[in-house]
């Protein structure tokens, strides 16, 4: 049997009164894919994820989830789990009670608590399993929300800003859980404001700006679309590096915006990767040691800022402004 895509959305439109939250959105997510959803505040990410969970229906457009067309609210097929706008948890119940109640509701054998324990362990909350959720931190709640979603062994996992408030250990747990799920064939759609998280987790991203898709595709393609980037060089001889960079064809030295940056002796240049390679050869040839070389912002972040027209950091490249 040919497996249906986890999500297939075509021309999804959703308005709240005068506000057009989603405007002709297409989205494709295949199983085993971790798909990131990014966009500025109010771009429509939560609205789109809510549609995937069946919390609302689109005003127009077609939405198929796990091969089933979704026409009315709460009619999404089994196998979809997740949360939007924070995990729904009951503060007067313990972590374990929250999960057991949910398991019972979804008709998973409530007596078989191993599922609950497993889920708690997967997100690293075993130690606080019998504490009331009232005292949980933001990050612990996020992790418990993820554990709740794991209980139903989902085939489509929908997460709205799952990395919100996570400490490095929590992030590690969450990333591992998501990666494992994807490896086992679960499709994951998540939104985030953290570009580094997305870059680490996602194979594909969709960028939304004011309800429209401005980019959708693999991360690698996005990096290519971001065009010229700013790179930061740390060398043993900043003055010489500065001079050599200025001489390299195709490269431009970006004047330091922050006077404080001068003191750490970094040089920021802009240009294509080939020109950068040239500069490195020149530096080494001139006996200047190269200690660090990296993009000032990640390609994803650069693309994001460029595509959504919200940033100025390195957005003055040749990308068209979506507005």
């Amino acid at each position: 049997m040919e497996e249906a895509p986890a999500v297939r959305a075509r021309g999804i439109t959703k308005s709240f009164g005068d506000v057009v939250a989603l405007d002709g959105v297409d989205l494709d997510v295949t199983s085993g894919q971790v798909h990131g959803l990014v966009g500025p505040n109010g771009a429509g990410k939560t609205t789109l994820l809510g549609l995937l969970l069946g919390l609302a229906v689109a005003d127009s457009g077609r939405l198929e989830i796990l091969g089933t067309p979704v026409g009315r609210t709460l009619a999404v097929p089994d196998g979809v789990a997740g949360f939007v706008d924070g995990p729904g948890l009951y503060p007067s119940l313990t972590a374990r009670q929250n999960l057991s109640a949910l398991a019972a509701l979804r008709r998973y054998d409530a007596g078989r608590t191993s599922g609950v324990d497993e889920a708690l362990e997967q997100v690293g909350l075993t130690d606080v399993a019998d504490d009331r959720v009232r005292g949980f931190s933001l990050g612990m709640r996020q992790r418990l929300g993820l554990a709740a979603a794991l209980l139903t062994t989902p085939r489509l996992l929908v997460l709205d800003e799952p990395a919100n408030g996570l400490d490095p250990a929590g992030k590690h747990h969450v990333h591992r859980v998501i990666t494992e799920l994807a490896a086992n064939g679960t499709a994951v759609v998540l939104s985030s404001h953290r570009m580094d998280d997305l870059a680490a987790l996602c194979s594909d991203v969709t960028i939304l700006a004011t309800g429209r898709v401005v980019f959708s595709g693999p991360l690698s393609k996005l990096a290519a679309e971001s065009g010229e980037l700013d790179y930061r060089l740390l060398t043993s001889d900043p003055a010489a590096a500065h001079r050599l960079a200025a001489e390299t064809p195709g490269l431009r030295v970006v004047p330091g915006r922050d006077p404080g940056q001068r003191t750490d002796a970094a040089v920021v240049v802009r240009g294509p990767v080939e020109a950068l390679d040239d500069l490195v050869v020149r530096l080494v040839g001139a006996g200047v040691a190269l200690r660090e070389l990296g993009p000032v912002v990640t390609p994803l972040e650069a693309a994001f800022l460029a595509l959504t027209g919200t940033g100025t950091v390195s957005a003055r490249n040749d990308q068209e402004d979506p507005r």
Binding site: G54, L55, L74, G88, Y90, S92, R106, R107, D109
Partner: protein, 452 residues
């Protein structure tokens, strides 16, 4: 059954109501507020009844209060009377008035919807769960009051509101029946609480709705409203249970009160259901439907009151205040005869029967210038009776304070040796003369027996 777990269904079915119900119950019982309420309802009445029953000053302004150290059953009835005026509306407000709103406060609607997949079932589960908790609370009030009274005073006969004695078994049955009857208005208030909780979202006004309604109805009870209006109120059954304690029972107002309460319960629940299914759960900032509440909740209930008043006004013999000279005279004479017999027994005089006494009463309200009708503390009655073998007719004077709900307190005004204050030695210790002050209740719905 088990195979379905691995086999993904095309379209997820909603969670069974029973599971949802259990979840709602767990959520309710995990709240400290509810736990404290339960604890209080199961302990406080017993402590109160036991403590008060052993004192000499009794809460005589509450019906049955003056009998608290005569029988253990009176304590529970004092608790019942108090619960009817405040505790039950407040309990329902705290439980039912919050079951829906709590999800708004916690922002868990989406979560719950994704888990249950059916707003209908969520509504049913929440309604049943809050009902269960309310029943537990009422059962606690009843059981605790009875236990406190029986432990402190004992299982003794209870004098009814017409003075006739109910044997212990009769008393037990009637007390339990009275508690069962007030479940109906409690359900009505609970339904109003549900409606408030659904309609007003997280705003605390929803929580207050049953309490506000109770307060408004309490105020209305103080007014000399026509009997048709009084009986149309959903709280009337909170008073009408008193009619169970006369012989024969004043079943008319009680049955009507139960019917009105149940209609309220059904209508308010239906309104809440309709409002609930219409609401938009994706809106996190939902603060209730605001002005819409007026149209969808308050107006239908106001219309219900109007219709009920109309129906009661045309279909029953209820007219005016429902309190008139004839009814008071009959009620007072009956109570006097029963209590006279009790007094005779307590004073170890020769037995008389009510029939031999042939007690009659003649009442007048506020002198000749005032019409002899309605509530007031200016009723003055003269009771006449005969003793077997004696030719003289005895006369005793009573001042009556009659309230609009049909309850009255008769205060003996002489002669002293008949209805003055003195202590009588009873097998259970000293007690005030039973003819000195006593409670009575007139049937607001009964056809007037006034002959003149």
């Amino acid at each position: 059954m088990t195979a379905t777990v691995t086999e993904p269904r095309a379209d997820a079915r909603p969670a069974p109501v029973l599971h949802g119900y259990r979840f709602e119950l767990v959520k309710l019982l995990s709240q400290w507020r509810i736990r404290l309420l339960l604890l209080a309802c199961w302990i406080a009445p017993a402590a109160f009844v036991a403590a008060v029953s052993l004192q000499s000053s009794l809460p005589a302004d509450t019906v049955f209060g003056r009998w608290m150290n005569a029988t253990g059953w009176a304590g529970s009835l004092v608790v019942l009377d108090f619960s009817c005026s405040w505790a039950l509306p407040l309990l329902t407000a705290l439980v039912a008035g919050d079951v829906f709103a709590v999800e708004d406060r916690l922002g868990t609607w989406r979560h719950l919807l994704v888990a249950v997949r059916s707003p209908r079932r969520i509504f049913v589960a929440k309604t049943l769960a809050s009902l269960t908790v309310i029943l537990l609370l009422v059962a606690g009030l009843a059981a605790s009051g009875i236990a406190g009274g029986l432990a402190a005073v004992g299982d003794r006969p209870l004098a009814g509101l017409d003075g006739h004695l109910l044997g212990p078994a009769d008393a037990a049955g009637t007390v339990l029946l009275a508690w069962a009857c007030v479940l109906a208005p409690t359900l009505a208030f609970a339904a109003v609480g549900l409606l408030g909780s659904v309609a007003l979202g997280r705003s605390p006004m929803g929580l207050l709705m049953p309490a506000l309604l109770a307060f408004a109805l309490q105020l209305a009870q103080l007014l000399p409203l026509p009997v048709a209006v009084q009986l149309a109120m959903p709280s009337h059954a909170f008073l009408a249970w008193r009619g169970l304690f006369t012989s024969p029972a004043q079943s008319g107002p009680l049955l009507l009160g139960l019917a009105v309460s149940l209609v309220w319960a059904v209508v308010a629940t239906a309104l809440a259901y309709r409002l609930f299914l219409r609401r938009d759960f994706t809106d996190l900032t939902y603060d209730g439907s605001g002005r819409q509440v007026l149209v969808t909740a308050v107006l239908p209930l106001a219309a219900l009151v109007a219709v009920t008043i109309g129906v009661i006004g045309t279909a029953t013999p209820a007219t005016g205040s429902g309190i008139d000279k004839g009814k008071l005279q009959d009620s007072l004479a009956t109570a006097y005869a029963h209590l006279y017999r009790l007094q005779t027994q307590e004073l170890h005089r020769p037995e008389v029967t009510e029939a031999q006494l042939q007690a009659t009463a003649s009442c007048d309200k506020g002198g000749s210038l005032v019409e002899d009708e309605g509530a007031g503390n200016d009723w003055r009655c003269v009771v006449s009776w005969r003793l077997p073998g004696a030719t003289a007719v005895g006369n005793a004077i009573y001042q009556l304070d009659v309230t609009a709900d049909g309850r009255y307190v008769a205060d003996g005004d002489g002669p002293k040796e008949v209805n003055g204050y003195f202590q009588v030695r009873t097998p259970n210790g000293d007690a005030p003369n039973p003819l000195w002050q006593f409670d009575g209740n007139v049937d607001l719905l009964a056809a007037s027996t006034q002959k003149d």
